[in-house]
C-alpha cells in the first residue's frame, strides 16, 4: 500500500469519525448511524483537509508545503473533542428515539425475491464501479480533460507552490478556470502533503471516495424509508449508471458537487415535517457543513446553496414550523456552513483573479438576455437530454425511469395519501430543489458569453450529474415510504366510495399489467409531445409548415396581403391565425414556430382525453385507457411530423366526443361545440373537405331520433324530443357550412392568386359521380388495406362485429341505450370514413392526372386519424366480450372474431396495389403500424420498401388475429396481448422518431445557407433577392420541398425577398435565385442542387480604369 493509500485512509477514517460523532450527537443510533456515517464520512474528511489547507495558507501564511498528517489529525482530534464536549454540555439528544422503535413496524415487508434482487443489483453495480474505476484510472492516469486542465493542475499548484499559490493562480489563463473553488484540488494537495509526495493514486482515490460516498449517502437516504432494499436499488442505479461512472472515475469535481448537494439537501429535508416515521431529522450542523462544502466545490455550488436555503426557508414557514424552531435549526446550519462559505469568499477576494461573474458577463450580456431564442434553446436541449436517444443515450434509460418514479412519488403524495397530514413537505421540498436547480441552468445558458450550443453540449451532462443522485435518492425514499405504509390502513374517504358507486364494482378491481403499462404510456405520451417536438430537427422541413409559418407572418405583419404558393395546394388559415399573434408580439419566426408546435401538440395530447371520454360514455368501461393509449400512439407520430395536423386530430376527436354528448344529453351547447369544432376542422387543413364526412353526423340525426323514440322502421313521429335532436343535428352541420362559406367569401382578400377552391369544387363536381362509382370503393379499401398492418388490422373487424352484435354491448344498462349509442356512433364513423374516402379518391385521381403528387399515401394518415373512434369501439367490444363472457362471447364467438380478423386482413393485403406497399413502407405505414412493420424489418422479413413477400403479407394478419384472440380472452391472454400491443407501440414510436430525425437532417441546409448569406452579406443583398417562382411552382412530389426553402428565405428576410416569374428582367439588377442557367458569373451554388444565385452587376464606375479622370459637372 502506497503512502497515497494511507493518506486517503486517514482522511476518510477521520471524516467517518467526525460524522459518527456528529450523528450520534444528533440522536442517530444503530444501522442508521452506520449508514449515514459511511455516507457523510468521505465528504467530511476531504472537506476538512481542503479547508484546513486553505485557511492555514490564507490566515496563517503557511509554509512551503500544505499542512501534513500531524496537523490534519490534530484538527480532527480538536473537532472531535469539540463535538463530544458540545454533546456532553447539551445533555441527552432531544430527538433520540428509543432503540428498536426507530421505524414503525411493517406488517408486510418487501417480498424476499424483491429484496434478493435489489441486493444483487447493488452487488453487480459495485463490481462494475470498481472495474470501471480501475480501467479508467489506467486509461486516464492524470484524469480526464477537466481534471488535467482545471482540478489536478490546481492541486499541483497548491502542493508545489503552496506559499505563492494565490499568485500562481492569478497568473493562470481563464481556460484553466482559476476562479473555481478548491474543494477537490485542496483535498488532493492535502493528501499529497500527508503522503510526503505526489502519489499517483491520490487523485483517483479522491474521486473514488466522492463516488463511493455519494452512493453510500444515496443508500442511507433511501434506506430511511424503512426498506433497506430501496437503498440498495438507489445505490445500484447511481453506481450502475454509465455517466456517473465515466465522470466519477475521471477525477472531476462534478460528482463532488452532486455529493455535497445531496448531503445538504438530505439534512434540510429531514428537518421538515413528514419524516417522523423515517428516523427523524439529521443533525443540522452536518447540513450546514455540506452546504458550505457545496459552495466550496464549484462556482455553481454557491447558486445551489442559495436555492436550497431559500426553498428551505419557504417550506419551513409554510408547513407549520414555528419561528423559534426554525431559528434553532438556522444556528447550527449557519455555523456548519460558515467555514465553506467563508473559504469561498476569501478565495474570491484574495486568491482568484476574478469572481467568475466578470468572465460570464463579458461582451454584451443585455443583448443575450433579450434574445428570446437564447432562452428557448436551453429549454429544448435540457428536455432533449432526458430522452434516451442520441446524446441522451449516455445515461442509458435512467431518466425516463427516474422521472416516471418522481411522477409516481408525486402521485403517492397527492393521490394515494389524501389526508393532508400524510402529504410530505419534505418530498415537495426535494422536488422543488431539483426543479429550481434545473431551472437555474436556463438563465445561465441564456447569458453565457461562450457559444451557446457549445456551452450546453459541453456541460449539460455534468450538470445533470449534479442532480441525478439526489433525484434517485428522493424517488426511492418516497416510494419506499409509500410502500412501507401499513397496508391495513382504513379504507378510502367517502368521495372515493361515491366514485366507486357511480362507476360500478369494477372501480375496486386490481389493476392489470397491461393497464399499468398503458397508463405509463399515456403519461409518457403527454410528455412526448413536448420532448419530441423539441427534439426533432425538422423545422423548415415541409412545404405545409413553411406555408403556415409564412402565412402567419403575412397575417401578423402585413395584415394578410397574401403569400405566393404552388397552385395545386391550398392551406386553410386556422393554424396560421393561431400562430400569428405569437409573431405579432415580436417573437422571432423560428421560436414562434416552436411555440406554436408545442401548443398544437398539447392540443393533440388532449385528444387522448377525448378518446377515453368517448369510451366512458359509450361503454363506461376501463378499456378506454388502453384504447386511449393505443389510439394516441400511432396517429400521433404522423401528426407530429406536421404543425397543423395535431390541431386537426384534436378537433376531430373532440368533435366526436361532443357529438356523443349531444346524443346523450340533448343540449344545445354540445351541438354548438360540435359545429364549431368541425368548423375548425374545415379551417385547419387543406384536406378540410374531409369534414364533408361530417354529413354523416347530421344524417345520423334521423337515426338518433328513431333510436331515441325506440321506434322500429321508418316512421318518425314529430315528438318534441325528435324535433330537438333534429334541430341539434342541423345546428352542428350548419355551423361548419356557414364557416366554410364565410371563409370562401373573405378568404380571397388575403390570398391573391389562389385559385384552388373553385378549381377543386368544379373538378369534384364533374368528376365525382364517375370517380366515386368506379374508384372510391377500391380506393377506400386500398387505403384501409394499406394500413391493415396497423390499427385497422384488429380494430375494423372488432368494430364491425360490435355493429352487428351491438345489442349485447351493454346488457348491464338494461334499456340498451348504450348499445344503441355505440351502434349509432360506429355507423356514423363508418359513413364519415366512406364519404371522406370517396372525396379523397376524387382528389387523388386529379392529383395523378395532373402529375401534381405522384404519391399513393397522401390520404393514409387521415385514414389513420379516423381510426381513433374505431379503436374506441373495438376496445369497447373487446372489453364487453371479456366482461360478459358467459352471456356474450363464447369461445366459439371469440374464435370467429379472430378468424374474421385474419380473413379480412388477408383479403385487404391481397387487394393492395403494389405501389401502395412501396410508398407505404417508405412513407407512413411504418410509423402508423403499431410497430408491426418495424418488427418485420427488424427480423429481416421486410425490406426497406416495396416488400410484398409472403411473410410481409401473412405475418401481420396472423398477428392481428392473435391479438384479437388475446384481447377477448381471460386474464392471462389479455395481459399477454395487451403487453405485446403496448410494447409494439412503444418500439414503433421510438424507432419511428429516430427514423424521422435521420431523414430530416440536412434538407434545410441549402435554405439556411441562403438565409445566412443574406444576413452575412448585407451589401450583396442590399437590393433584395429575386426568387424565380415558376421554378418552384413546377416542383412536384418530393421536390416540392424546394418550395419550402423559398418560404424559409422569405420568413427570414421578408423585406428583402421578391418572388416573381421574370428573372431575366432582374438579372444584374438584384441577386436572382433560380434554377435556370444564364451565361453570367454565379454568386452561390450548391453541390447536387440545381439552384444558383446570380449577383448584382458591379457599378459601372468600379469597372472603369482607376486612373480615369473624373468628369467635370
Amino acid at each position: 500500500m502506497t503512502s497515497g493509500w494511507l493518506a486517503a485512509l486517514a482522511v476518510n477514517a477521520s471524516g467517518a469519525l467526525l460524522a459518527c460523532l456528529a450523528l450520534r450527537a444528533g440522536g442517530l443510533r444503530g444501522a442508521r448511524l452506520a449508514r449515514y456515517t459511511a455516507g457523510f464520512g468521505p465528504g467530511l474528511g476531504l472537506g476538512l483537509a481542503s479547508l484546513l489547507l486553505f485557511f492555514v495558507r490564507t490566515l496563517g501564511g503557511g509554509g512551503a508545503r500544505p499542512p501534513g498528517l500531524a496537523a490534519f489529525l490534530a484538527a480532527t482530534i480538536v473537532l472531535a473533542a469539540a463535538i463530544l464536549v458540545w454533546t456532553r454540555l447539551r445533555g441527552r439528544p432531544a430527538q433520540a428515539p428509543p432503540r428498536g422503535v426507530l421505524l414503525r413496524p411493517l406488517r408486510q415487508p418487501l417480498p424476499t425475491a424483491v429484496r434478493v434482487v435489489a441486493w444483487l443489483l447493488l452487488a453487480v453495480s459495485a463490481a462494475t464501479l470498481l472495474v470501471s474505476f480501475s480501467v479508467i484510472r489506467q486509461a486516464w492516469p492524470l484524469g480526464t480533460w477537466d481534471a488535467v486542465a482545471i482540478w489536478n493542475v490546481k492541486a499541483r499548484i497548491l502542493f508545489r507552490g503552496y506559499e505563492q499559490a494565490p499568485a500562481f493562480l492569478k497568473q493562470a489563463e481563464s481556460t484553466s478556470h482559476p476562479n473555481y473553488p478548491l474543494l477537490l484540488p485542496g483535498a488532493v494537495a492535502a493528501q499529497w502533503s500527508m503522503a510526503g509526495g505526489e502519489d499517483p493514486w491520490t487523485a483517483p482515490l479522491t474521486g473514488l471516495a466522492f463516488l463511493a460516498g455519494l452512493g453510500l449517502l444515496v443508500f442511507a437516504v433511501a434506506a430511511d424509508s424503512g426498506l433497506p432494499a430501496f437503498g440498495a436499488v438507489a445505490a445500484a442505479l447511481v453506481w450502475g449508471n454509465p455517466m456517473v461512472l465515466k465522470w466519477g472515475s475521471g477525477q472531476g469535481a462534478d460528482l463532488a458537487v452532486a455529493y455535497c448537494f445531496l448531503g445538504g439537501l438530505a439534512v434540510l429535508a429531514s428537518r421538515l415535517p413528514g419524516r417522523e416515521d423515517s428516523g427523524g431529522g439529521l443533525p443540522p450542523l452536518l447540513g450546514g457543513i455540506f452546504l458550505g462544502l457545496l459552495a466550496w466545490s464549484k462556482n455553481e455550488g454557491t447558486l445551489m446553496v442559495l436555492i436550497l436555503l431559500g426553498l428551505y426557508g419557504l417550506w419551513a414557514l409554510r408547513h407549520g414550523r414555528d419561528r423559534p424552531s426554525i431559528l434553532r435549526d438556522a444556528v447550527p446550519i449557519g455555523v456548519g456552513a460558515v467555514p465553506g462559505l467563508a473559504a469561498v469568499f476569501l478565495f474570491k477576494r484574495l486568491w482568484a483573479p476574478e469572481s467568475g461573474l466578470d468572465t460570464f458577463l463579458q461582451g454584451h450580456p443585455l443583448d443575450r438576455v433579450l434574445s428570446l431564442e437564447r432562452w428557448f434553446i436551453p429549454v429544448r436541449e435540457i428536455l432533449k437530454r432526458l430522452v434516451p436517444m442520441g446524446e441522451g443515450l449516455g445515461w442509458g434509460a435512467s431518466w425516463p425511469l427516474v422521472l416516471g418514479g418522481a411522477l409516481l412519488a408525486a402521485c403517492a403524495s397527492w393521490m394515494f395519501l389524501r389526508e393532508r397530514r400524510d402529504r410530505q413537505p419534505w418530498a415537495s421540498f426535494w422536488a422543488a430543489a431539483a426543479g429550481a436547480t434545473v431551472a437555474s441552468w436556463i438563465p445561465i445558458f441564456a447569458v453565457t458569453p461562450y457559444g451557446q450550443m457549445w456551452h450546453i453540449q459541453g456541460s449539460l451532462d455534468r450538470l445533470y450529474l449534479q442532480v441525478f443522485p439526489m433525484l434517485v435518492a428522493g424517488v426511492c425514499l418516497r416510494l419506499g415510504m409509500a410502500l412501507a405504509v401499513d397496508p391495513d390502513r382504513p379504507e378510502p374517504s367517502s368521495g372515493a366510495d361515491q366514485e366507486s358507486a357511480r362507476w360500478g364494482s369494477w372501480e375496486r378491481r386490481p389493476m392489470s399489467v397491461p393497464v399499468w403499462l398503458a397508463t405509463l404510456l399515456v403519461l409518457g405520451m403527454a410528455v412526448k409531445t413536448f420532448v419530441v417536438s423539441a427534439w426533432l430537427p425538422r423545422i423548415w422541413l415541409f412545404l405545409d409548415e413553411m406555408f403556415y409559418l409564412v402565412t402567419a407572418w403575412d397575417l401578423g405583419h402585413w395584415g394578410g396581403r397574401g403569400v405566393p404558393h404552388p397552385d395545386f395546394l391550398f392551406y386553410p388559415p386556422l393554424p396560421s391565425a393561431l400562430l400569428a399573434p405569437i409573431l405579432v408580439v415580436g417573437v422571432p419566426a423560428p421560436m414562434a414556430y416552436h411555440v406554436g408546435l408545442l401548443l398544437f401538440h398539447a392540443l393533440l395530447t388532449s385528444s387522448v382525453v377525448a378518446a377515453w371520454l368517448i369510451g366512458r360514455r359509450l361503454f363506461g368501461e376501463s378499456s378506454r385507457l388502453l384504447a386511449a393509449a393505443l389510439v394516441f400512439g400511432p396517429p400521433a407520430y404522423t401528426a407530429l411530423m406536421l404543425m397543423s395536423e395535431p390541431v386537426f386530430v384534436a378537433l376531430y376527436t373532440w368533435s366526436l366526443y361532443f357529438w356523443v354528448r349531444t346524443l346523450q344529453e340533448r343540449r344545445t351547447r354540445d351541438a354548438w361545440a360540435v359545429g364549431l369544432l368541425l368548423s375548425g376542422l374545415v379551417l385547419t387543413r387543406f384536406a378540410g373537405y374531409l369534414a364533408v364526412g361530417s354529413l354523416a353526423l347530421a344524417a345520423a340525426g334521423g337515426l338518433a331520433v328513431q333510436w331515441a323514440r325506440g321506434i322500429p322502421g321508418t316512421r318518425f313521429p314529430p315528438t318534441r324530443e325528435a324535433r330537438r335532436l333534429l334541430r341539434l343535428h342541423l345546428l352542428l352541420l350548419a355551423v361548419p357550412v356557414v364557416t366554410a362559406l364565410l371563409w370562401r367569401a373573405v378568404g380571397s382578400t388575403f390570398r391573391p392568386g389562389a385559385v384552388p377552391q373553385t378549381f377543386y369544387l368544379l373538378a369534384i363536381l364533374v368528376n365525382f359521380p364517375l370517380e366515386f362509382a368506379l374508384g372510391a370503393a377500391r380506393r377506400l379499401m386500398a387505403e384501409i388495406g394499406y394500413v391493415s398492418l396497423s390499427t385497422y388490422g384488429f380494430a375494423l373487424p372488432a368494430a364491425l362485429w360490435g355493429l352487428v352484435r351491438a345489442k349485447h354491448l351493454d346488457p348491464l344498462s338494461g334499456d340498451g341505450r348504450r348499445a344503441g349509442e355505440a351502434r349509432l356512433f360506429l355507423a356514423s364513423v363508418l359513413t364519415f370514413l366512406v364519404l371522406s374516402g370517396g372525396l379523397a379518391a376524387s382528389f387523388m385521381w386529379f392529383a395523378r392526372i395532373l402529375s401534381y403528387l405522384p404519391r399513393f399515401d397522401l390520404y393514409g394518415r387521415y385514414v389513420e386519424y379516423f381510426a381513433i373512434p374505431l379503436l374506441v369501439v373495438a376496445f369497447g367490444v373487446f372489453s364487453s366480450m371479456r366482461r360478459q363472457a358467459s352471456a356474450f362471447a363464447s369461445s366459439l364467438e371469440r374464435l370467429a372474431l379472430a378468424a374474421a380478423a385474419l380473413l379480412i386482413n388477408a383479403f385487404l393485403l391481397l387487394f393492395i396495389p403494389a405501389p401502395f406497399f412501396a410508398a407505404s413502407l417508405e412513407g407512413q405505414i411504418a410509423p402508423n403500424s403499431l410497430g408491426i412493420a418495424w418488427l418485420l424489418r427488424l427480423v429481416g422479413l421486410a425490406g426497406q420498401a416495396g416488400d410484398t413477400g409472403l411473410w410481409s403479407r401473412w405475418l401481420a394478419p396472423i398477428l392481428a388475429a392473435l391479438l384479437v384472440w388475446g384481447l377477448t380472452s381471460g386474464t392471462r391472454g389479455r395481459r399477454a396481448a395487451g403487453t405485446v400491443l403496448v410494447l409494439l407501440t412503444v418500439v414503433n414510436f421510438f424507432l419511428g422518431v429516430r427514423e424521422a430525425s435521420t431523414n430530416s437532417v440536412g434538407s434545410a441546409l441549402y435554405a439556411s445557407q441562403i438565409s445566412e448569406a443574406v444576413t452575412a452579406s448585407p451589401e450583396t443583398f442590399a437590393k433584395g433577392l429575386y426568387v424565380d417562382y415558376p421554378d418552384y411552382r413546377r416542383e412536384t412530389g418530393a421536390e416540392a420541398a424546394g418550395f419550402a426553402q423559398v418560404f424559409r428565405v422569405i420568413s427570414d428576410h421578408p423585406d428583402k425577398v421578391v418572388v416573381g416569374t421574370d428573372p431575366e428582367a432582374h438579372l444584374g439588377k438584384m441577386p436572382v435565385l433560380t434554377r435556370r442557367t444564364f451565361d453570367r458569373p454565379v454568386l452561390m451554388e450548391w453541390p447536387g442542387l440545381p439552384y444558383r444565385i446570380y449577383p448584382v452587376d458591379p457599378p459601372e464606375s468600379s469597372l472603369k480604369p482607376s486612373g480615369a479622370p473624373t468628369p467635370s459637372p
Binding site: 508545489r160 402521485c411 389493476m511 385507457l625
Partner: protein, 184 residues
Amino acid sequence: MLRMVESGLFMSLRLPPLQPRPWIYVWLAVLVPVWAFGIWMSIQMIVWTRSSAGLMCGGLEAYAALSHLPPVRPGELSEPRIRFVTDVPDPSASERFFCAQYEAAPHALARIWPPGLETRNLSGSRVILHMDDPAVLQEALGKVVIAAERQKSGMRTDRLAPGLVLVTITKPGRSEPAGPGTPR
C-alpha cells in the same frame, strides 16, 4: 392542476385509491431492465476505454521533464508566466497546453502561436517550444533568437526532450553566453 389530474384523469383510469403498492412494484419491475441497460452501457464504456490508449496527455510523456525546470537566477525574469508554443493546431494544441501546464505546475503557462514569434517581446521570459518537426523547431528557435537579439537580451536553451525545448530569454543587460545547442 394536480387536483384536476387527481380527480379527472386518474380516477377515470381507475387507479386503486390508497394502493400505491402495485404501482411501485411495476416501477421496480421496469427498473431492472433499465438498470441492466445502464450496466450494459457501462460495460461498453469500459471496453471502449480499455481499447483507447492515451485519452488525455497520451503520447506526451516527455512533458514530465517540465516538472523539473532548470532554476533561474534572481532578477533574470520579468514575466512569471512561461510562454508555450506548439505547431499543432487546436484542439490538440489545447491538450498539449494543459498537459504542459499540469507538468510545469506551479508555474502558469500562457499560450502564444508561432506566427509572428520573432516580433514578440520575449525579454525576461521563458518559452517552451514543442514542435514535432525538427525543421519547424529550428525555425521557431531562429525566430526566438531574432526576437532576443532585437531586444538585446541574453538567451539560454535547454533541450528537455526530443522536440521539446525551454528557452530562457533574460532581461536586457543580463546577457549570458549562449548555451550548447543555441543556434547561432
